[in-house]
């Protein structure tokens, strides 16, 4: 079991309000990702749930029980820290065994569980090493191992992959997803990596300055962002925003078009522009185009599309994929 409910949770450090007032419902088995700009309160929220910080006011329920004032150890949650927070002087085995030792499990149980976890995480060969002798990805797995031996009611991950290089990140992403498939335990995951958020989440919570901007499935957020903030935040490269006359023609204060929803042509189209930088990735090409009367627009072309700096191109946004926002930034 592992549903978590936040009711009117409010958090301030001294006079600075970090989280004005949040209500959130996370059901058992869900994979929830928190995203938001740096400093928006993602970690704080996670730490509130973990019990590492006190709420200023409001209630936190775990499996229906009020846990607001409870000590972290009593909440039955496991946390994987951004820095892994491994115990540097203990072997991998002892790191993973530590929570069980603290729970006074007997020797055989500990051994069995540690070995099982190591099996799952492909760590069996490294059990005798110290964390200092492991690669980043291996350390990550030890941190996860330490969490899973306990069979907690929920996992909390605070940007667990941010220290890894791109390749390892990809691998670990898949491993965590698979783990979730396997265990079906509630997971709350903080990241500011687009790809991680989009590919791992059942549900994304977009935070901005301590407020929830939108909650929904990744594709929901991608397709129907509720406001300008979410629209700009989800998707890479960023959505192009256009104001002024062009927006007015669509009865909106601002319209937004994603780079992948703009058709390019060298001969005809809705908007005319001049190519600035062209970024050839092989699979795709991103063009940064100065469009007349529109402004700077990024568009995605396929890898074979060949244009150069200074060339003239025509852009046509797909009409069905245009997002419209009112003057307050809300989607219409």
């Amino acid at each position: 079991m592992g549903n978590i409910t936040l009711k009117n949770v409010h958090k301030a450090f001294g006079a600075t309000v970090i989280i004005p007032d949040i209500d959130l419902e996370i059901s058992d088995g869900e994979f929830v990702v928190f995203v938001g700009p740096s400093g928006c309160g993602k970690s704080t929220l996670l730490r509130l749930i973990a019990g590492l910080e006190d709420t200023t006011s409001g209630t936190i329920l775990i499996d229906g029980a009020d846990m607001t004032g409870e000590a972290p150890a009593k909440r039955g949650l496991a946390m994987v820290f951004q820095s892994y927070a491994l115990y540097p002087h203990m072997s991998v085995y002892n790191n993973i065994a530590f929570p069980l030792k603290m729970a006074k499990a007997d020797k055989e149980t500990i051994d069995a569980k540690v070995r099982a976890a190591a099996q799952t995480l492909n760590l069996t060969a490294y059990l005798e090493r110290r964390p200092g002798q492991l690669s980043g990805g291996q350390r990550q797995r030890v941190a996860i191992g330490r969490a899973i031996v306990r069979q907690p009611s929920a996992f909390l991950f605070d940007e667990p992959l941010s220290n890894l290089d791109a390749a390892l990140r990809g691998t670990m992403r898949l491993e965590i997803s698979e783990l979730h498939q396997q265990l079906r335990t509630t997971m709350i995951y903080v990241t500011h990596d687009q790809v991680e958020a989009m590919t791992m989440a059942d549900k994304i919570v977009v935070l901005n300055a301590g407020n929830i901007e939108q909650v929904g499935s990744p594709l929901d957020l991608y397709r129907s962002p509720r406001n300008l903030f979410v629209a700009g935040f989800i998707g890479s490269p960023r959505m192009n925003f256009v104001t002024g006359d062009e927006a007015a023609r669509h009865d909106a204060a601002t319209i937004g078009v994603r780079p992948e929803h703009i058709r390019l042509s060298t001969t005809e189209g809705a908007w005319k522009g001049v190519v600035g930088v062209a970024e050839h990735l092989g699979s795709d090409t991103f063009l940064h185009i100065q469009a007349e009367g529109i402004g700077q627009v990024t568009a995605r072309a396929d890898g074979e599309f060949t244009v150069h700096h200074g060339d003239e191109v025509w852009l046509t946004p797909e009409q069905t994929k245009i997002h419209r926002f009112d003057a307050d930034g809300h989607a219409i």
Binding site: A50, L52, A71, F81, Q82, S83, A85, Y87, H89, R146
Partner: protein, 290 residues
């Protein structure tokens, strides 16, 4: 970083320090070794001459010799024990959020600034004196017989005084080490269900290993040479109860003016100090490399 050029330069840059220390070590050491084979009493310049190993035998057969070595070790171990246990306890205490932290810290480190003879005088005259000392007054107030510290527990008293001087040093190092313990590690342990004692045992203490090693190494070097405190308080007595190696050498050098004997004692002390150092490096040196 390491090109041939910089390596050569590096050797050159290290040279002054190494050469100076080499001279500083070799010149007195070789003079000492030379004198240790000489009959040389300053007050009796007529009786100069080669003495063979006599000075060593004489020093070694001194009735106080064994006790001096035992006392030396007791002082080192005793002070280390008090300062490390006390230092850890104090560091844990000072690491808590408390009111007036700055002032408390200043008070705690102050003994480190006191010259050894002054420290010994304060303790001897004003604190431990069986007649006028504060401790005597306190025990009289409690209706107890005042303790005559330097007669009844001479070595303990010396250890207390020296430990008082070095406690701040240990506390400070351990405190800073404590504060460098990764906050998230402590939180992780907490999430893992560890209580305060568990966190201390499994997390804090291993983390402090390196700092403790530094304290042990540096203090040992100074503690092997403790003598001003002994000179001021007990003069090595009663009996040989507080005579340590340094004091024994002092007695030979500056009361008997027996340069040969004192030199032999110096050589013996250097050898012993190095044995202790090697033992220490074996025992705890590993912690330094982490």
């Amino acid at each position: 970083m390491a090109t041939r050029q910089t390596r050569t330069l590096a050797r050159l840059m290290m040279a002054p320090a190494v050469v100076l220390l080499l001279i500083w070590m070799i010149v007195p050491l070789s003079m000492t070794i030379w004198y240790s084979f000489q009959n040389y009493n300053m007050l009796n310049p007529a009786m100069r001459g080669f003495a063979g190993f006599f000075n060593y035998v004489y020093f070694y057969t001194d009735p106080a010799f064994y006790q001096a070595i035992i006392n030396t070790l007791f002082i080192v171990v005793g002070v280390l024990f008090i300062t490390i246990v006390g230092g850890i306890a104090l560091a844990l205490l000072l690491d808590q959020p408390i009111f007036g932290q700055g002032i408390v810290r200043i008070l705690v480190i102050s003994p480190f600034f006191v010259m050894p003879p002054v420290a010994a005088l304060i303790w001897k005259n004003m604190i431990m004196h069986p007649g006028y000392g504060v401790l005597a007054d306190v025990s009289r107030f409690l209706g107890l017989q005042p303790v005559d510290w330097f007669a009844q527990y001479p070595l303990t008293s010396v250890i207390i005084i020296v430990a008082w001087q070095w406690l701040p040093f240990a506390t400070l190092i351990l405190l800073t080490a404590l504060q460098s313990l990764d906050e998230e590690q402590k939180e992780a342990a907490e999430m893992d269900g560890a209580n305060f004692a568990n966190r201390f045992w499994y997390l804090t203490l291993p983390h402090l290993a390196r700092a403790i090693t530094v304290v042990i190494l540096i203090q040992t070097i100074f503690l092997l040479a403790v003598y001003a405190e002994i000179l001021v308080t007990t003069n090595g007595g009663p009996g040989y109860a507080t005579t340590n190696l340094a004091f024994l050498i002092y007695r030979t050098a500056l009361l008997s003016y027996d340069v040969g004997g004192a030199s032999a004692g110096g050589v013996i002390a250097v050898v012993l100090a190095n044995i202790v150092a090697i033992f220490l490096m074996r025992a705890v040196g590993r912690n330094l490399d982490r």
